[in-house]
């Protein structure tokens, strides 16, 4: 392919550290507290979360009465460093995961 498909961008600036965002995306206890929304009646369940390269993940739930499911494989797990990064602008864990899951949906 000579040209990449343009991805769907969903962007949020969240006043939290990379570690906090990373944890929210990877902690099985945190994921149900935001993924799939928090409207009345929304549910989210972590079916599987094997956080390592080649590990699988599967989440399912209902959002506004409709069921959804996200599953796939972690291609790369880069745990954010807890120390200060110097100069570089690190990639956010959240963005990487979001892209990975939409890629898996195709």
């Amino acid at each position: 392919m000579t040209e990449k498909l343009s991805p769907v961008h969903v962007t949020r600036v969240i006043p939290a550290s990379r570690e906090e965002v990373f944890r929210a995306f990877t902690d099985p206890e945190a994921i149900p507290l935001w993924l799939g929304g928090q409207s009345e009646g929304d549910t989210t369940r972590v079916v599987e979360l094997d956080l390592r390269e080649g590990g699988r993940y599967a989440f399912q739930g209902t959002m506004k009465g409709k069921t959804w499911e996200i599953h796939g494989m972690y291609r790369e797990v880069a745990i954010p460093e807890s120390s200060c990064t110097r100069g570089s602008i690190p990639r956010r864990a959240g963005q990487r995961r979001a892209r990975a899951s939409s890629r898996l949906s195709f």
Binding site: I14, D27, L33, T62, S105
Partner: protein, 160 residues
């Protein structure tokens, strides 16, 4: 529910720049195969092959006038792909709204004593609160090497 095969076909058909160029031209008006081939740096059979893929995905339709095949866009065929994108966008918009709220609350509950009258200015990043953070056993183990963490959790919230 959108037929996943038709979605696969539509996205796969759209994944090629030549086919997108063909669709873009068809969006203006219908064309013969020869007209479509003219600006493209490829043979007529190659163009026909692309058209066949677009046709199979339902994105274009052909009609025959004598010896000429006229190709036209079928705009409705893009609707499932557009719906799919819209649904996924809505899902992530909603999720990230909830994520922002969740992290905000997590912060608030972690720093109950550090009351400042103004919302913390982010020009200079405040020092990390010395409060010990909840340990991350899963991450520690993930760091230790592959195969050390495998979690199949029970339902965190019961579906109704």
């Amino acid at each position: 529910m959108v037929n996943s095969h038709s979605l696969d076909a539509a996205f796969s058909a759209l994944s090629d720049p030549s086919r997108r160029a063909i669709l873009a031209r068809l969006a203006r008006s219908e064309r013969t195969v020869g007209e479509l081939a003219e600006p493209l740096p490829m043979s007529l059979p190659a163009v026909s092959k692309h058209l066949r893929i677009l046709e199979q995905a339902g994105l274009v339709a052909a009609s025959r006038e004598g010896r000429t095949r006229r190709i036209r866009l079928v705009p409705a065929a893009l609707a499932p792909a557009q719906d799919w994108i819209a649904r996924h966008r809505a899902f992530w918009e909603e999720s990230l709204d909830a994520l922002a709220l969740y992290l905000e609350r997590a912060r608030a509950s972690k720093e109950p004593t550090e009351k400042s009258p103004d919302p913390p200015a982010r020009t200079s990043r405040p020092a990390r609160s010395p409060t010990p953070r909840r340990p991350l056993p899963s991450l520690a183990r993930a760091r230790a090497g592959p195969g050390t963490l495998r979690r199949k959790s029970s339902p965190a919230r019961q579906p109704r």
